[in-house]
Amino acid sequence: MELDPKDYNVVKLLTKLKNSNGAYPPEMLTPRRQNYLRRVTEIGLGFGIAEGLRATVRSGDKAGASSSITASGLIEAALVVAIVAEAGATAYIYRDRIAEIIQSYTLQPQVVEVTSAPEIDLSPNLPVLVIEEPIDVSPTPSAVETPSGTPIALTGAVNNNQTDQDDQAVSTPDPNGNNGNQYGLTPKPIRTIEPGGDGNNNNNNNNNKNNGRDR
């Protein structure tokens, strides 16, 4: 007990106090006991009913386990069949509309929305670059397409060989009898005189060039 020997007298007194008569008065104990026994009966009855219910549920579970599994499988299969049949019937009834919808999706041009980048004016004071009109470049015809059925115009030998002259296209006559050599035949352009200026310096070179060309 690990008590100091001086404390043994106190412990001896406490032991005597333990033996003192502190009994439960019978006028209190009897009704308390009856009340307790009534509670015991109530709880025991309720516990018995609960146990009986649990046993019934357990036995019911065991007996109907196999039948419930079969029934649930049948119900599940019937539901799947019904859903498939309903989907098929609906698709058959509205087949035209479904086709229209599919066509509208397939034929509809795809429009891609492109948002332009926001214009940011970073340097408003910069000089504006003016781009002059581009020089017109006449495209060189690479090939002359001849309409089908049109007879090909041939000079020379063709004229000699063809008997039906009306059907052939008339070829362009050679200018001045010169076949392709046009050197020196181009008319000289008329010079434009600037107003108020005689054009001494610049025209010297041009005159020299012209003189050389004329020669």
């Binding site: 406490l14 333990k18 502190g22 006991r33 009966t41």
Partner: protein, 184 residues
Amino acid sequence: MKDGVALLKAAQKLDEEALTAIFDQFAPAIYKYTLRLCHDSIVADNIVGDVFAQLLEQFAAGKGPRTNLRSYLYQTAYHLVVDRSRANQHTAPLEVAVGTYEKGQPAPTQSQIEERVIMEALISAMNSELTDDQRHVIILRFLEDFSLKETAEIIGKEVNNIKVIQNRGIAKLRKVLGLQLEEI
């Protein structure tokens, strides 16, 4: 009569006979213990009713004590007493226990009168000089014969702490009863 373990197992199955035996065996002891703590016979009687009502509810819920039924009942009673003392600071004297101490006895002798004086001084010192923990530990250890371990379980403290509380309580009682103890 069934032993403690068999009685507890039968009570867990809500066996009526076992539950009745438990009440008959422990109700008077719980009443005495509660009376020593709260000093009121009516309160002690109510606490006994609450203790066994809680026991029935625990058994019905599949809970309750598994090993030490006696310690469990005292622990429940202790908590109920503490709850009630917190609710209303009850300061009734402990003379209830002393009054029953000499009830039904013939005229006391000189030694019996001296012993009674010492006992009253002891009870008074327990009520006035000891702290709640010291009083509870001393009651459980020396009046209810619980071990240190059981006392620690009931009060909810460590065994070493119970030892310290017990020794300090005994030392305080010895100091208060110093003169009377020399006369024994």
